[in-house]
């Protein structure tokens, strides 16, 4: 054969190499998630099958892993801590982020819009320890002053901090959902005499509903997984909260604070990994639900 039959020149090899590289990048996400799951399962497995009492884990608020004669592993207070902080965070974040998304997506024009979008994205980049610092040094005295309570590190403090942390990413996602609504819908509704607000409330929001729900769910997932800010602003004391002024301890904060002080492989160590498995499953389910909700809307469209 002549040389013209062989196409394996430099460009061919580059093309091949880039393809393989991109493939590795693409597949790595799956490998990492499986790898992480195997790792935390392996570390927590022994404890789950031998020592763990599921009734105690989910129903008892007594988390006393370091007790020398009778350690107990009740995670209820930690779950309640995480849930209460996340719940309050959503009460703060949902109106803020939806309002911001509606303003940016539907009202703001030109430069205002661009600047706002950049600013919101910059807000999302603030490190969580900085937020924790704000909770500790600004919100804490403020709450003590305003509500006349002895301690300002509590559900209220960490819920507000976490809400402000989650709002930017939720705003960005919600704005994407609004942007996906075809402009012809808005034009049609306006031509029928609807005001801006009627267009948004009766056409745009229902059409973007799934994307907005997904944005909120991802915010919830973010709240569940956040560690540093919650650790710093929640008071970190084991409590079943009955008011927003109670200090609580979050699942994530517990792992972060205790793992470094346990002996690898010990019961306490494995119990912390069990908390990790639980967190992993919860956030996985939340993210999966968000994903399915978004897909649902696509399927309906012709």
């Amino acid at each position: 054969m002549s040389h013209s039959a062989d196409r394996r020149d430099a460009a061919w090899w580059v093309d091949r190499a880039v393809q393989s590289l991109v493939f590795v990048g693409g597949i790595s996400g799956i490998l990492f998630i499986i790898g992480i799951f195997i790792f935390i399962s392996k570390e927590g497995y022994g404890f789950i099958v031998s020592t763990l009492d599921f009734g105690e884990f989910f129903a008892s608020p007594r988390w006393r892993p370091t007790s020398s004669h009778n350690p107990t592993y009740g995670a209820l207070a930690l779950i309640a801590g995480t849930a209460s902080v996340t719940g309050l965070a959503m009460i703060v974040a949902v109106p803020f982020s939806l309002g911001a998304a509606i303003y940016i997506g539907e009202f703001a024009t030109g430069k205002t819009r661009e600047y706002l979008k950049v600013l919101v994205e910059m807000l999302a980049a603030i490190p969580s320890v900085v937020w924790g610092f704000i909770g500790l040094s600004i919100m804490n005295p403020l709450i003590i002053e305003l509500f006349n309570v002895p301690v300002g590190l509590n559900v209220l403090n960490s819920g507000i901090i976490l809400g402000l942390m989650a709002a930017p990413i939720m705003t960005t996602l919600a704005e994407d959902a609004l942007k996906a609504v075809p402009d012809t819908y808005r034009e049609a509704a306006e031509a029928l005499g609807a005001t801006r607000w009627q267009v948004i409330f009766r056409v745009v929001l229902p059409a973007a509903k799934n994307g907005l729900v997904a944005a909120i769910l991802l915010g919830v997932g973010r709240g569940f997984g956040e560690t540093m800010a919650v650790l710093m602003a929640s008071g970190h004391s084991i409590n079943l909260p009955t008011s927003p002024f109670d200090s609580v301890r979050a699942l994530t904060a517990t792992i972060a604070a205790e793992l470094g002080e346990t002996a690898a492989g010990s019961e306490h160590y494995q119990a912390l990994f069990t908390l990790g498995i639980f967190l992993f499953i919860v956030t996985f389910v939340i993210n999966l639900t968000a994903d399915l909700v978004v897909r649902g809307v696509r399927k309906q469209r012709p």
């Binding site: 808005r186 049609a188 509704a189 031509a191 005499g193 009627q198």
Partner: protein
């Protein structure tokens, strides 16, 4: 609403739309130049001209939907039934109650068929008033009957409107204008997204609505203009060149440009 489906013997002389020295700019680009038009009530007037001649722009300034763009500037006046729609105390919302619009691509809202028909009505309903179920049913039925769609959709009123065939969607888009009793219907190439059968059906419907509404229709299709309108306006480069009876314009156009366009020498 449907007191006279019979055609008026002579077009009335009352005016539905009257414009004076209408100029319009998109940013710095001037799209309309001193447009003076008198469009008579109750007949179908078609707007023809090559792409970019300003016919859609004119149509879209009558219900002020152009203003959505934000960089549009208008001078001069447009009166709809004697009211200046650009007067300072007039809100676009009031104008759009009088002036309904049908778009090039059927654009039903992502709601049920029923809610699409009722959307405009609910929008213009007085605050605090509730529409009874039976009154709503009546409005939905009479509107869909008027656009010859009732029989096809009466069993699936709660299904999403986007599931309809394009032709049916376009009829629905006409039906949803009717409950608020507009006096003028603006149609921006309402058949251009439809196949020949759909075009025929929608044209038939437009002809059916003649007399009850003043209809202003933009079209690219010369044959459509000649068979489906009473009067015809020819525009070129943002100016009105000729406005006359359709039959007259297509047989004995007054201006050379009109003749050239009709015969297909450009456009």
């Amino acid at each position: 609403m449907a007191e006279s489906t019979a055609l008026p013997a002579e077009p009335t002389t009352a005016l539905a739309i009257e414009t004076r020295k209408l100029n319009l700019w998109y940013g710095t680009f001037q799209a309309l130049f001193d447009v003076d038009l008198e469009i008579k009530q109750g007949i179908i007037t078609s707007l023809i001209g090559p792409s970019g001649c300003g016919k859609s722009t004119f149509l879209r300034s009558v219900n002020r939907i152009n203003e959505r763009l934000g960089y549009v500037r208008t001078t001069g006046s447009i009166e709809v039934l004697g009211f200046d729609v650009y007067a300072e105390n007039v809100e676009p919302v009031q104008v759009r109650k009088q002036v309904g619009m049908v778009f090039q691509r059927p654009n039903p809202l992502p709601l049920s068929i029923r809610d699409n028909v009722l959307f405009g009505y609910r929008t213009h309903q007085e605050r605090g008033k509730r529409l009874s179920r039976s009154a709503a049913d009546e409005i939905v039925e009479s509107s869909l009957r008027q656009v010859l769609l009732w029989d096809q959709v009466k069993d699936r009123l709660d299904r999403p409107a986007v599931g309809l065939a394009l032709e049916e969607q376009q009829k629905l888009c006409i039906a949803r204008l009717l409950p608020v009793k507009p006096s003028v219907l603006l149609m921006d190439e309402p058949c251009s997204a439809l196949d020949p059968k759909g075009t025929e059906a929608v044209e038939e419907l437009i002809w059916e609505l003649r007399g009850q509404y003043t209809i202003l229709i933009v079209t690219h299709n010369m044959a459509q203009a000649s068979r489906a309108s009473d009067e015809c306006i020819f525009m070129l480069l943002g100016k009105v060149i000729e406005h006359s009876q359709t039959a007259e314009m297509f047989v004995t156009p007054k201006c050379q440009e009109t003749a050239d366009y009709i015969e297909g020498r450009y456009g």
